[in-house]
């Protein structure tokens, strides 16, 4: 029992402030400690990878996006999503076309890989904008309370009263289907929910003593909200945002399915499902199946990631 151990003397322990790397490592541990989060990270990471390296665009993104002369060469997508193979239409998976071809003879794997791009840019972008607007409204509403709170929340309630899908249809139908309008529609639909969440968190955090301490220093309300309240609400907000990106991907898929997504011939998972569904009974389920699987896997991935992070955050508290 009596093992010679150095007497712990906690107050004289040499303390070294954590380096930048250690801080980053600690953050990452939140993810890697949870099995669920790792599966989620893998699924989301897979689609990110595919989207990034579908072609060689990554070498020179600016030219790729804005130069007419530049033509990207497919990398992991293998073919261009627009390239049609004569006589190869409606084929099942083969060594030539891994996932098969669609009715126009285009490679399904290429369509799927390129289709990941709009999904993975539009959904996060719209949620980010919604986060900025909804977060601001929520924190202001929660911090000031009273009439301010009443006005903001009732206005958002009115917005929430519309069924989301109806809201999308109205906005897209009015403004026409384009990437920008999809972002706009998803942003508008996302703001009320985020504002509600942030308001709730603010109501809780503003009762903490450190907020009172800031107020007794005579800090400006902007300072209190931005420096004292929001950083402590960031955990739940980030997790909520992950889930919302998942829902936004669903929404983009839905819009594509309804023909309100990106205009053809752009590769789009939702329209793949929609167009492919007429060939399911003809023994060619591939278009619909790959499209659905892609949407499902990335949404499930984001959900798992959010769940895993939530679990870890709760453990920290």
């Amino acid at each position: 029992m009596a093992v010679t151990l150095p007497t712990p003397n906690e107050s004289e322990q040499v303390y070294r402030p954590p380096s930048r790397w250690e801080k980053l490592k600690e953050r990452l541990e939140i993810l890697t400690n949870s099995n669920i989060a790792i599966i989620g990270l893998f699924l989301v990471g897979f689609w990110l990878f595919v989207a990034l390296f579908a072609d060689n665009c990554i070498i020179s993104p600016v030219q790729c996006l804005f130069s007419e002369d530049w033509e990207a060469t497919p990398w992991i997508a293998r073919y261009s999503p627009f390239e049609t193979f004569r006589g190869e239409n409606l084929k099942g998976p083969s060594s030539e076309h891994w996932l098969g071809t669609d009715r126009n003879g285009r490679d399904l794997w290429a369509r799927l890989a390129y289709g990941a791009r709009p999904v993975l840019t539009l959904a996060p972008a719209s949620i980010f904008i919604a986060l900025v607007i909804g977060g601001t409204l929520g924190v202001v509403s929660g911090y000031y309370g009273g009439l301010t709170d009443e006005i903001i929340m009732r206005a958002l309630d009115a917005l929430m009263a519309f069924p989301q899908i109806l809201l999308y249809l109205v906005i897209i139908a009015a403004l026409g289907p384009s990437a920008l309008n999809i972002v706009l529609a998803i942003t508008i639909a996302g703001v009320p929910g985020i504002a509600r969440l942030v308001r709730g968190l603010t109501l809780d955090i503003k009762t903490r003593d450190y907020v009172a301490a800031a107020q007794t220093r005579g800090e400006h309300p902007m300072y209190v909200m931005a420096v004292e309240i929001l950083p402590n609400a960031s955990g739940p907000i980030i997790i909520d945002a992950m889930l919302r990106i998942g829902y936004a991907i669903f929404s983009i898929g839905t819009l594509g399915f309804l023909g309100l997504g990106l205009p053809p011939p752009s590769p789009d998972w939702g329209s793949m499902v929609s167009i492919g569904k007429s060939f399911i009974q003809a023994g060619h389920p591939w278009d619909s199946m790959w499209g659905s699987l892609a949407i499902a896997s990335i949404v499930v991935g984001l959900n798992l990631l959010a769940d895993g992070m939530n679990e870890q955050l709760n453990r920290y508290r």
């Binding site: 029992m1 009596a2 093992v3 010679t4 151990l5 007497t7 712990p8 003397n9 906690e10 107050s11 040499v14 303390y15 402030p17 954590p18 903490r208 003593d209 450190y210 009172a212 301490a213 800031a214 107020q215 007794t216 220093r217 005579g218 800090e219 004292e228 950083p231 402590n232 920290y316």
Partner: protein, 703 residues
Amino acid sequence: MGTENNGRGEPVVSVQNLGIAYETRTGDVNAVKDVTFNIYRGETVGIVGESGCGKSTLAYGLVNYLGRNGKIAHGDITFQGSSLVGRTSEELRRLRGDRIAMVFQDPMTSLNPVLRIGEQMMEVLTVHKGISDKEAFDRCVEMLGQVNMPDPARVMERYPHQISGGQQQRVVVGMAMLNNPALLLMDEPTTALDVTVEAAVLDLVNVLRKEFDTAILLISHNMGIIARVSDRVGVMYAGELIEMADVHEIFKNPRHPYTQGLIRCLPKLGRGKAESVLYPIRGRVPDPKDLPPGCLFAPRCDYVRDACNETRPQLRDLSEGHVTRCIFSEDIVAEDWTPPPGLIPIFEEQTESDEMADTLLSINNLQTYYPHGNTFLGFGEREFVKAVDDVSFDVFKGKTLGVVGESGCGKSTLIKTIIGLEEKTGGDAVFNDTDIGNRVSRRDLTTIRELQMVFQNPDSTMNPSYSVGKQIERPLRRFKTVPQSEIRNEVIRLLRAVKLDEFYYDRLPRQLSGGEKQRVGIARALAGRPDLVLCDEPVSALDVSVQAAVINLLLEIQKEFGTTMIFIAHDLSVVRFFSDFIAVMYLGQIVEIGPADEIYKPPYHPYTEALLSAVPIPDPAVEQTKIRLEGSVPSPLNPPSGCRFHTRCPRRSLLPNNGAICEQEVPPWRDVGDGHRIFCHVPLEELRAMDPVVQAPEPVAAD
């Protein structure tokens, strides 16, 4: 250990070498180790210790309520002759039956909010024992009477939220006693209650023990509570039982350094900072994953010798019924202890001449009302919670005003109004010739800087997102106390002032203990070099040893910087120790104010008298007059007419016509002299004639 039997027959419960461990991902954590004790019929055993010492785990272990990851690692629990260890939960349930009952800290966790009190109490009898409704009802009413519940039949019809916290706890105790258990476990049963209510619940514990002959295990961190109700006391430290003896023996002749330290770091009621000093225990409770190899207390012990670090001491009999876990118990006598150098009273006895110091803060007829409820579109009369109503006092430069009172008496609202977090409704507040009747956002930077606050809750006083250094820096930048280039040095200087090392600069709040967080909170308040620091219960959430250190720190700071303080606390011993002047508040008003030592001896306001009678004193030899207040604090929405205390006042009978005047007229301020004023109808002569509430067994030498 058979020596403690004293012919009381078989123990109700016998714990032998009990060890309880929690399984965690990094291996088992031993929360309780080698605990051995017996409890006999009609006996109350108190378990005391700081947080994290395994007290609650021990209680949960006895009822096998350890959660999924808890397990009994070794040892045995024998309850009425049969072992409780290693049995399935079904067997345990049968063995134990309804013979063990448990009372928790928060009564609302034990009561179902959607059921009437009667329904939940009767259920205990009708469901498990098949007693008829009628009979069960009568038994419950009888039981409520036994737990001193006023008007038991009516209470049966109420919902839990309709009765006060103290009454809720009495219902819980009553419910626990319905099955006439052999063993009653109480885990901090009064911690959530006010001191007057606490006193009533503790009286009840004593009654239960006598009337029902129940064995009671009472767990508390408060030495005063333990001293009042226990027959025998066990002291726990880091999961081990380190000393156990008769209650008088523990307090008079403690033989373990930790027990001695616990007693030494408590302020004695009636002693002030001028004549006594608190001796905190250095260091903190070791992490159960990283224990010292020898005696667990060795790193913090003043008597530590080489032998202490070699082997872990075992419990041993010291004398009849006195066990200890210290190798050198025979050598360490509490009276022979000499304080370490540097710990001497730092405040000189006040001389009469400096009584008339400058007034720093002057409050006149201050009122703070909160609007209550919603009116429909502004129609209808608005109701107000009169949180602070007509309060006047002066605070002198360099002095401390203590404010005491039960929860809801308005003491927090009072200081929130002074600091500008709430807006006053009426009256004046003048600080340093500046009017401070406005909100903090309308004050100029100098006034803001000179008024700072220390908060109650160590866990929320610091923003968890930023390092210690960043949080102390902010007021320095904002108030421009020091030039930009000096900020880091100033932070380190402040950290040193609150006895924290430089390396705390980069630490995050979650890496700090409660006491350390509270120190950072103090450093942050001091950063602007304020003239007046408002302390809202700064030590009430801390363990006693840490509490002593923080109080000493505040005193040193006051001495060094000449800071004026307003100190709120509900613990009368702490307030007395810390303050020069004390104001006693009841329902938004000050009922008595004066120099600290005057408050603690007659003449008293009847409310002060009741408070003093209720305060648990950590010395079983002290005699306290038993004055218990009836009912609960009335609603501040609609306070009683005349004297607000008349509904509960035990001294009304001193006045003609049983104090009819108390209901009709606002009492006069009776001036005792020396700034001591009492807000009461009872003439001074009669108040003077009252007996002191607290009687020490022998005259205290230092007074």
